[in-house]
Symmetry: C2
Subunit: 568 residues, 2 copies
Amino acid sequence: MNNKKIVVVGGVAGGASAAARARRLDEFADITMFEKGPNVSFSNCSLPYHLSGLIPDADSIVLMTPDQFKNQYNIDAEINSEVINANVSKKEVEVKNTQTGELKCVPYDELILSPGANPIMPGCIKGIDHDNVFSVRNVVDIKKIHTYLEVNKVTDVAIVGGGFIGLEVCENLAQTDKHVSLVEASEHVMGTIDDDFAELIHKELYDHGVNVILNDGLAEITDDHIKLGSGNKIKAQVVIMAIGVKPDVALASKIGCKLGLTGGIAVDQHYQTSIPNIYAVGDAIEVSHMITRKKTRLALAFPAQMEARDAIDHIYGRTIENRGVIGSQAIHVFDINIASTGLTESECQKDGIDYRTATVIPKSRVGIMPDATPLYLKLIFGYPNGEVLGAQALGKSDVDKQIDIVSTMISMHGHISDLTHLEVCYSPWFSTAKNAVDMAALVAENILNGEFKQVQVSEIRKLVEKNAFIIDAREPFEYEEGHITTAVNIPLSQFRQRLDEIPNDCPVYVHCLSGQRSYNMVRALNNRGYKNVINISGSYLELCEYEYFKDQTTDRKPIVTNYRFDLL
Amino acid sequence: MNNKKIVVVGGVAGGASAAARARRLDEFADITMFEKGPNVSFSNCSLPYHLSGLIPDADSIVLMTPDQFKNQYNIDAEINSEVINANVSKKEVEVKNTQTGELKCVPYDELILSPGANPIMPGCIKGIDHDNVFSVRNVVDIKKIHTYLEVNKVTDVAIVGGGFIGLEVCENLAQTDKHVSLVEASEHVMGTIDDDFAELIHKELYDHGVNVILNDGLAEITDDHIKLGSGNKIKAQVVIMAIGVKPDVALASKIGCKLGLTGGIAVDQHYQTSIPNIYAVGDAIEVSHMITRKKTRLALAFPAQMEARDAIDHIYGRTIENRGVIGSQAIHVFDINIASTGLTESECQKDGIDYRTATVIPKSRVGIMPDATPLYLKLIFGYPNGEVLGAQALGKSDVDKQIDIVSTMISMHGHISDLTHLEVCYSPWFSTAKNAVDMAALVAENILNGEFKQVQVSEIRKLVEKNAFIIDAREPFEYEEGHITTAVNIPLSQFRQRLDEIPNDCPVYVHCLSGQRSYNMVRALNNRGYKNVINISGSYLELCEYEYFKDQTTDRKPIVTNYRFDLL
């Protein structure tokens, strides 16, 4: 029997994983990996960190050279080699050397497409083809940006798009001496989290000197500024485009692979395309969402690797199981970490999924330990069945841990009752005795049981404007340091003696610092026969974070007398 | 209807949680909490951190005062009040004021026992009643130790027992100017993890100047030294006993509550004792293990809180679900973190549970990022069914995250195949693209499938002694820096050209730095028809950590030419 010929298109996350897995299963296969760029196996997620110098040597981002692939895995990794076509009946690919233009045909038994995704560069925008406009896809890109910034002594950079790449580039450039503007066309950065937590990121960006522009899009690029849809001009000698990526389906389309409704390459449960012996994995494909069961796309390194492994396993006759994706993600922005998994509130709304949320703000570790900081956690769960649908977490500490607990639970189709039965590890060094996820799950259980009502901090401004009855349940000294303008201070420690101040003929909203004391007051008032008492979820801590950025950047009137930021 | 009278015995984790939960469910109950010590609601797990000054004010360890309980929750928290008896037919408790000796009877409708556990102080040891002998149970204890050390200008402390409290006290005292000896009667510290990882803790202790004594017990205490079972004497003006705790069942026994086989108070699925209207929770009770289904005891704060909540919920007619415990725990010792969940290897062996392990040592984050350190993770899973049984993790980074992912999976009765389908969040800031748990699960899956064989680092000394054929698959420069004395250097990058050096008529053991390159070589050699190729799990990194402490503290001959410690 002849050796199996495996050809892989693309040499980064999906491609390199596929080639290495094939070698482990088959020592005698002929494995060739074609990469159109000059590098294989680089850590694309690490690229932004070169801009701040955190990763001083851009070449170190390349994790394996073609020589190493050859020597260690006996894999031919051919760089500067673009697969431009395939003859699927003859089962061979046509490869072009991007430096010499030379063409060659290479036969395959199995072809794995892992072409990735390309940054979206809208051709309609005037100036987008200027040489001061960049995107961030590979090591070459990041070197080019780095060099251009240095050579041209650039002082002002505009980043267009507030997703993962935009935010990471923003953070890393702001840590140099550049003045950075971040332009986001929608209401908030990071589409993968909801408005409430995104406001906390806006504040973080603002606090670090980033010029954050929301609800405004790029209209035109010149040598020294950009013009926005609003007509505003922003000084910028360099523009970095990060408005998103589109799957690179050029080759797949050309050779006749079917595309899915989302524009990605359509694959079956084994990552096979519509053409026999051709598989596709990674950012270019369409995948199924584990929760919504809908087709979606997910441009992340981790799923790409696992898809690659599965595709190769299927080639070698192994049974694989395609459970779909949930979209777990994490990002570090200046001093805070943000992570999320599963569905957001807005995705639930879009998909018509009935849901509820539970937000808690415990400390990251026992409060008397040094460096205990607030940990914002929002759990999103199905109503009425309590299925865990998603979570978002934000803070200076290990928010990724909380999200990974929830993502593990989602992967097992767990319910809120499963989260309340978690037994995670505890020491004052690592967390509070009741971990954030447990705490949120207990709140969620109460909400599922209809035991109390809540509103989100996003609704407080309206309540203040219509002069709703708001109780601040904190101690007087806390109230004095800053409070909601219209709130009445009735501390949890005094309310039983001051019940006559609390009306029972109108809604009563209660908040404290993080929501714990107010929750206890809400329960007590409910027990005492108050019919319409509502907890302000997130309470003063989240409210201040939520209001701050817009208060600073618009002329509206603040609804708090003084901000309190325990994240600082 | 009269208000329900709820009496709680014990005012720390379980007791305080029970009282607070009762108030949330019933605003009108008469809730009284009796605590025999002078403080309620203190963070007992934080006590050791006062000894180093990390928590400078011991009083800050008390999280809530009786006044706060009264004002905020309308709960009567009576301190210095020991419940010494109960008349279960009259439903009243007899309470003694420990300062005045005064007695009173207090009626209850429901009685919650949360008396905790007492440090074991073997009366047979001569000198154990000296005033230089301490244990660590509450704020009074820790203040007493702190004062005694200062007043008597103590230079040498012996800590007896290498469990959680012993290690934490050891760490915190060693960070002052004291010379600390840690005496452990068994082969290794921390009974909740296995020998292999415990050796890494021995090294950490040794590196920080702790005099670690294993396999030796306390025989006698004098004013300036302790005598061990071996006859050795250790200088110590202060002795801290931390050999374990026993459930405080004095009151429960006296009033006739049945005890379980493990010596804890027996409770049913609702935490009811054998006597009607008496519940028990926390360190004093016997619980069921979720995996072994056996009765056990678990002296941890987190389960105590949850049990308290469940007991109260049951009193108020709510349905609760008792799923048993798994024993997740975490500890910080000098520069490393250690966490574990579920069963250890030795517990599996003791219980006759067939199991396998998968150990991986990825970096804590992408290797090119600063502060990427090795993360040791061992997954323990059932054979042949692949059920996830336990995990242990150790390193300078967020090992608690890895363990919480696994504990979540265990709580859902997940299998290795469920762990391989995890989708956790990734950014180079937080982890490697393939997270440690996923990596370990993939190795575990290969082991379940019988795809390769492995030995543990604990077996390497024997292999060296009998001159087994060991391949070091690292690059020559790495081999030069230090290697197993008898190993042959055949790098992964060269072995295909050097196959004639690899025998096929005897077992061939392969290692590299962390196990990844050796695994690839093992797979390739298997594919090439080698019948008996075995991967050394943990490889050089774990081997050096494993061997070091005994090499330094005994006169045996090292089996490596030079140690390599990437944890440093």
